[in-house]
Symmetry: C2
Subunit: 226 residues, 2 copies
DNA sequence: CTTTAATTCAAACATCTGTTTCAATCGTAC
DNA sequence: GTACGATTGAAACAGATGTTTGAATTAAAG
């Protein structure tokens, strides 16, 4: 086993288990067991559990953030060429589409998006610190662009509504865990009961990634411009 | 010390610490230390840590859910009297206003809303199970009412958009932790950098609970009707 | 083949976890 | 005041946690 083999096995196992159970509820022994390596390997290759989390996040977040920034720059550049302001919808698309669509780019990415959704809501400390370290550069540019797109919206309202939008996206990612569809558990129960009461009720159709992205973009765009 | 005194002290301490650090990251010894009682008191009065969480949630969620259902029923009843469908905005107000406004109703409630925001995002298992047990009755009625308000919106889109709305609310509650304002940490850093770059940038004004509720209701209403 | 460094492994480390035990204490009814 | 059930307290429980150790193994270089 060379170095990179063991490291990758640990990263993959940690990514999966963190996304399933969260950072604090996943033990190093579970991770190393699933990876098929010794417990000491984590501290040997990464230094600590927290450093492992950093590496798990960075491996995926670095290319994702690059992609998001590219799309954001493209939107702003195209708007500038036309001498117009960027549209809220295009900005929100650059924010949401790469993030949600990321899960289709790689087998392990599906686990990762759930991990990201969970990271932002995990108790303050380790996870949030690691996460925001990677997110901050993008958010800075995003808010600047939104100010250009909505010059008449007061700063505090713009920040507040963007805050709402982040909440929407995070919730999508979090629920994205298993099937990749918005089948969060409260609704599963509801739907059954609803079905009993209403006649002629049709089971809702499955929702593709493309529809999910479109609907999410429409939802937050309408909210931003409300 | 009589029974209820000790029980209340434990519930208050657990509510605060759970909301700060989450369920899994809070130990019984931290709770009992803050409450000024013996470690054994938790198991004596509640049976287990999980049962303690149930009691923490139930103490606040029972009256809150009652209030939300009352408001929802009032909205639907008034609409029926006028022979009209309930408005999405009124429904969303019944969903959001009591939840956010709850933090002003009691000194400890401020901690509780953050706990609720965190509960829904905590790794599946204990916390989610306890939480949805209390939430389900309300959600069922809510979705039925939304179907009445938006009869032309396909079921899968309605569920999806309500899913988005829940994400927005949860994110608000989660960030609601300290000051009670949407001052999430990523934006604190952004704002500083943004301030440097833009001339004539004005620091955003503080946002009151009433504004927060109004903006949140407008945001999700616009999204639902998009 | 020998040497040398990198890596793996089983075992132990100290610490923390939720829970239990059982004697000491408290409040109350007789 | 005495007896009795409810409550508290200090201590210990068994198990899990992240981390460290030092010898064994592997891979590459001379």
């Amino acid at each position: 086993m060379n170095r990179v083999g063991t490291q990758k096995k640990i990263l993959d196992a940690a990514e999966l288990l963190f996304s399933e159970s969260g950072y604090y509820s996943t033990s190093l022994r579970e991770i190393t067991a699933k990876a098929g390596v010794n417990v000491a390997a984590v501290n040997y290759h990464f230094g600590s559990k927290e450093a492992l989390l950093d590496n798990v996040l960075e491996r995926r977040l670095a290319p994702l953030n690059k992609l998001r920034l590219q799309m954001l720059d493209a939107v702003c550049a195209e708007a500038k060429d036309r001498g117009r302001r960027p549209s809220v919808k295009a900005l929100m698309h650059a924010f949401i589409a790469p993030t949600i669509g990321f899960r289709d780019s790689d087998a392990g990415s599906k686990n990762f998006v759930a991990l990201v959704g969970r990271a932002i809501s995990e108790p303050s400390g380790t996870v949030q610190r690691s996460f925001f370290k990677f997110m901050e550069p993008f958010i800075t540019v995003m808010i600047d662009s939104l100010h250009e797109a909505l010059p008449d919206l007061p700063a505090e309202l713009l920040l507040l509504r963007f805050h709402f939008s982040v909440g929407t996206l995070v919730h999508i990612l979090r629920a994205n865990n298993g099937a990749g569809l918005p089948e969060q558990r409260c609704m599963a129960g509801d739907r059954a009961k609803h079905k009993e009461r209403k006649k002629g009720y049709e089971e809702p159709k499955a929702i593709t990634t493309a529809t999910l992205v479109d609907e999410a973009v429409n939802f937050v765009t309408a909210g931003m411009e409300a």
